[in-house]
């Protein structure tokens, strides 16, 4: 299945993926309207120390520890995509405790968590981060062939 | 209005050819009937013929056919004959017999000369007989205004003029000639009244070309071939094709098949799939002579002493039909033109794109300049 893979050697640290992600998760409309004047809550995060940078998003593990540890049964895997049921999530953060990549993040309201779901709900299955990465440092592909 | 030589005039056409493998001489009547069927492919602005074996009595001499535009250039004949006398031994000279018919008007003065180069002149030039003769003919055409050599081979002749080809044929009384090989041309130029010299066939020495089409590679070919002492004074396709064939075949020594592989080169994809050694040879030829590839529609009948070659373009953009019946070979733009003279023809077919069809006399004693090597 296609997943998001990040390629550190091409990451420019522009952080645009975070904005495109945040916007996609707000419905993918006009970014200026959606994000103007407020902090963004992307599901992909760029780690950046000024020299090295790369984005981190959910890897959709074959053995997802987040799902196995979820006390609410709110995390499921559908067609390989690890998804969070916001309604069931009680915000205990066991998944944050479990995820080795730090890819599960508190949601804006703090009562639930969020993570990359490959834009299946938002951008029609074409992840906004990969689509808009100016340097193909984030790719959406089978098996990370180019990563 | 500019005429050929001052402007490039594309034209559509009809062509026909008849050939006797046994060398049997035929009157010009058949070829006239053949080309006449394709009347609508001409528009009355040019027609012409080439006949081979027609001057058996003067077979050893170059037969120069000349147009003199006496009205515009009254001195032309005098200048030209002076030139000829300086360079050739003239064994016979005189007007070419014609028949006054209402369809043909404004004819120039039409003469023919049977000549051989003066040995001392040829020796000084350090050229062989053919090259010397060819260069002299080209020089007349380029330098003597009002004089135009339109035929210059041995034991053959071109007959052409303004008019429908069947009228031109009657005008020249071709039924009175006997030849083993005839080609004919009916012309449909697009933007000029044309002039007599611009009609076809075009000839150089015993090579004549009748051509139907309009090649798109013209200026690429012309600018290249002119590097080798050719001058495309008429700016016609036929002229440049004739020179290309002359250059490749006579001067570079390529066989007719090899020549065809240059001008109608197969596509690279075809070449790559060819079996060896053809593959290597043809790829080499295409690389080596890429400037002589001819593109755009054409079908030609090349006449030469002892044979004919029919060749079409690499995409088969112009129709061409050939046929065999007994010792006769026929070629024409349309099958009807063949059936008009040979209703029960045994075999008729359309050659493949770029495929040369070469016929020669069964007896090879008369090898001309264009004969297969």
């Amino acid at each position: 299945m296609k997943k998001i893979y990040v390629r550190e050697e091409w990451c420019l640290g522009c952080h645009l993926c975070e904005y495109y992600c945040a916007n996609a998760n707000l419905g993918g409309g006009n970014m200026a309207k959606a994000l103007k004047g407020r902090p963004v809550h992307p599901r992909i995060r760029v780690e950046d120390d000024g020299k090295i940078s790369f984005a981190v998003a959910c890897r959709h593990c074959d053995e997802p520890l987040c799902r196995k540890g979820c006390i609410a049964g709110a995390i499921s895997v559908a067609d390989g995509v690890v998804c969070i049921d916001r309604e069931k999530c009680v915000g205990c953060y066991t998944c944050i405790l479990s995820c080795p990549y730090g890819a599960v993040l508190p949601a804006e309201d703090g009562h639930a968590v969020q993570k990359c779901e490959l834009c299946i709900q938002t951008a029609g299955g074409s992840p906004a981060c990969a689509e808009h990465c100016p340097n193909r440092a984030i790719v959406f592909e089978e098996g990370g062939a180019s990563a | 209005m500019p005429i050929e030589g001052q402007v490039r005039i594309p034209s559509g056409c009809a062509i026909a050819g008849i050939f006797s493998r046994s060398g049997e001489r035929m009157s010009g009547d058949d070829v006239i009937r053949s080309i006449a069927v394709m009347h609508d492919r001409s528009n009355g602005l040019g027609g012409g013929f080439a006949g081979y074996g027609i001057y058996p009595d003067y077979a050893a001499y170059y037969a120069f056919h000349l147009f003199y535009q006496e009205k515009k250039h009254p001195d032309a004949q005098q200048q030209c004959e002076a030139f000829l006398r300086r360079h050739f031994y003239i064994i016979h000279a005189g007007v070419i017999p014609t028949r006054k018919i209402p369809e043909i008007t404004d004819e120039p003065r039409i003469w023919r000369y049977f000549v051989l180069p003066l040995p001392e002149k040829q020796e000084t030039s350090q050229l062989d007989e053919q090259e010397f003769t060819a260069r002299c003919a080209l020089r007349i055409n380029a330098e003597i205004e009002g004089a135009f050599v339109f035929s210059g081979g041995k034991n053959m002749g071109v007959f052409k003029g303004i008019g429908y080809p069947e009228d031109v044929g009657r005008f020249y009384r071709l039924e009175e000639y006997g030849g083993y090989s005839w080609t004919a041309h009916g012309r449909y130029p697009t933007n000029t009244p044309g002039w007599w010299g611009g009609a076809h066939p075009f000839g150089l020495l015993d090579c004549t070309v009748v051509h139907n089409g309009e090649i798109s590679s013209y200026d690429a070919n012309r600018r290249f071939i002119e590097m080798f002492n050719y001058q495309c004074t008429l700016q016609t396709d036929t002229e440049v094709i004739t020179y290309i064939i002359d250059y490749l075949h006579r001067k570079q020594g390529l066989s007719l098949e090899e020549t065809a592989a240059v001008v109608s080169a197969p596509f690279w994809s075809t070449l790559e799939e060819m079996p060896e050694p053809d593959r290597s040879t043809q790829i080499y030829l295409r690389k080596r002579f890429s400037n002589l590839l001819i593109t755009g529609p054409f079908s030609i009948i090349l006449g030469f002493e002892g044979g004919q070659m029919v060749l079409g373009d690499r995409l088969k953009l112009r129709g061409m039909v050939v046929g065999n019946h007994g010792d006769r070979f026929y070629a024409a733009s349309e099958e009807c033109a063949i059936r008009a003279v040979c209703p029960d023809i045994a075999k008729v077919w359309s050659p493949e794109a770029g495929e040369p069809v070469i016929v020669t006399m069964d007896r090879k004693e008369a090898a001309g300049t264009c004969a297969p090597r």
């Binding site: 196995k68 540890g69 049964g73 009680v90 205990c92 944050i96 405790l97 995820c99 080795p100 | -």
Partner: protein, 423 residues
């Protein structure tokens, strides 16, 4: 193959899913004393607080049993296992033959005897859905609740009830909250936070006696203080339900002894979850690690093994993620070795390192991406191979050496394999 699973919580569900990963056809019979569809026990406090409901509390979708081909015998109690005859006996005398059986019976709350306890009418524990619903029925805005135990259950219960009533007092013998998982400093921060949110804490003391006067009760603490209350909740510890294995002759300590594949000492008898005692990957000691993620992992491992496949064995860690009134606490591992800590009064983080490995950590407040630390503990990653100083301040993959990071970013399976391969 026929598998019998006794229990219906995380370990049991993990076992079902484990079996189904290996086999779509094996028979599965699930026996559970509770009559409910599988639900998440830790969620009962959220139910109290209204953050979940009877439907959402389900641990798996409604069609779970059907979709997984599970014959569920809910509300039935397993009374005994005959390992020689390979038979499970249920209440009412029904017997089920098995090829493998999983004991996932969990634990039951303890109620320590105290003077006057027998006079108190409203005594509840807080581990089951029925417990929570009973409390929901009985507690109103005016109800004064007294919770015995300031551990995970007691405090979550207090937080949950706080959504209903303002009158909550929690008492614990330990001098700090969450004494089993927190050290003094973070506990102090948490305590202050709880108190700011209206929980009255009586720590370092215990109930000496209960007394009843009409509907109202009073607890007298050892300090001499008295705590009037209407509802008593006992949350002072649990005891693993080991009887089935013990009675069948299996090795049992505090919990049922199992190996890394969740095998008990009895042939074809497996155990997983809160009822077991298994090696802690950090200390190597056998422990009851009564934590839902571990229960699931054990159950899954057991299931895969029972179905005859090879299970990836993930080292089990003590670890907790818990939050009270918006303050999150994440901790894992053991607190031994060298400690570095940092606090700004509100947020707290401490790390415990020994022998070039991270042994444990406690994060309070700012907890994002803590799983990166957990993975270090689980994988026993050598700390000198990464920039741990930077990692402590800011969890991130950037702290790993380039090639390692590239590997992590490229393929999560490799990461998993690396963890699994760690000694």
């Amino acid at each position: 193959m026929k598998h019998v699973i006794i229990g219906n919580s995380a370990a049991a569900i993990g076992c079902v899913e484990g079996i189904r990963r290996a086999s779509r056809t094996d028979d599965i019979v699930l026996v559970a004393a509770e009559p409910h569809h599988t639900y998440s026990r830790p969620l009962i406090s959220y139910l109290m607080a209204g953050k979940t409901d009877r439907t959402k509390i389900r641990y798996r979708p409604e069609n779970f049993y059907r979709a997984n081909g599970v014959q569920a015998k809910l509300g039935r109690r397993a009374l005994g296992i005959d390992p020689a005859g390979k038979i499970v006996t249920l209440d009412g005398g029904e017997t089920i033959a098995y090829d493998n059986v999983l004991v996932a019976t969990g634990s039951d709350p303890l109620i320590f005897p105290a003077e006057g306890l027998d006079q108190v009418e409203n005594v509840r524990t807080f581990t089951t859905l029925d417990d929570a619903e009973a409390l929901l029925r009985s507690v109103t805005a005016e109800t004064r609740v007294f919770v015995v135990g300031a551990g995970l259950i007691g405090l979550k219960c207090a937080e949950g009830l706080r959504a209903i009533t303002e009158h909550i007092t929690v008492c614990d013998l330990a001098p700090r909250v969450l004494s089993s998982i927190l050290e003094d400093a973070p506990a102090a921060i948490l305590r202050r936070h709880l108190e700011e949110n209206g929980i009255v804490l009586k720590l370092g003391t215990s109930v000496s006696s209960f007394a009843r006067a009409g509907a109202a009760c009073t607890a007298t603490l050892r300090t001499g203080e008295t705590v009037p209350f209407d509802q008593l909740v006992y949350a002072a510890g649990v005891r693993p339900n080991t009887a089935l294995v013990k009675d069948a002759g299996g090795d049992v300590n505090r919990g049922i002894l199992v190996d890394t594949l969740c095998r008990t000492s009895l042939p074809d008898v497996y155990a997983a979850g809160d009822c077991t005692e298994s090696p802690d990957a950090c200390s190597g000691e056998r422990k009851v690690m009564a934590l839902l993620p571990n229960a699931y992992l054990q159950g899954e491992t057991a299931g895969i093994t029972m179905a005859g496949a090879t299970a990836p064995t993930l080292p089990l860690l003590p670890m907790n993620a818990i939050g009270f009134f918006g303050l999150h606490l994440l901790c894992a591992g053991v607190y031994d070795g060298e400690r570095t800590e940092h606090t700004d009064g509100q947020n707290y983080r401490s790390f415990y390192t020994r022998d070039n490995t991270l042994r444990g950590y406690i994060l309070l407040g700012r907890v994002e991406r803590a799983g990166i630390y957990t993975a270090l503990i689980r994988g026993r990653t050598p700390l000198d191979a990464l920039d741990f100083a930077a990692l402590r301040d800011q969890p991130g993959l950037i702290a790993f050496a380039g090639p390692v990071r590239a590997e992590i970013l490229r393929n999560q399976d490799n990461q998993r394999k690396r963890e699994a391969a760690a000694p």
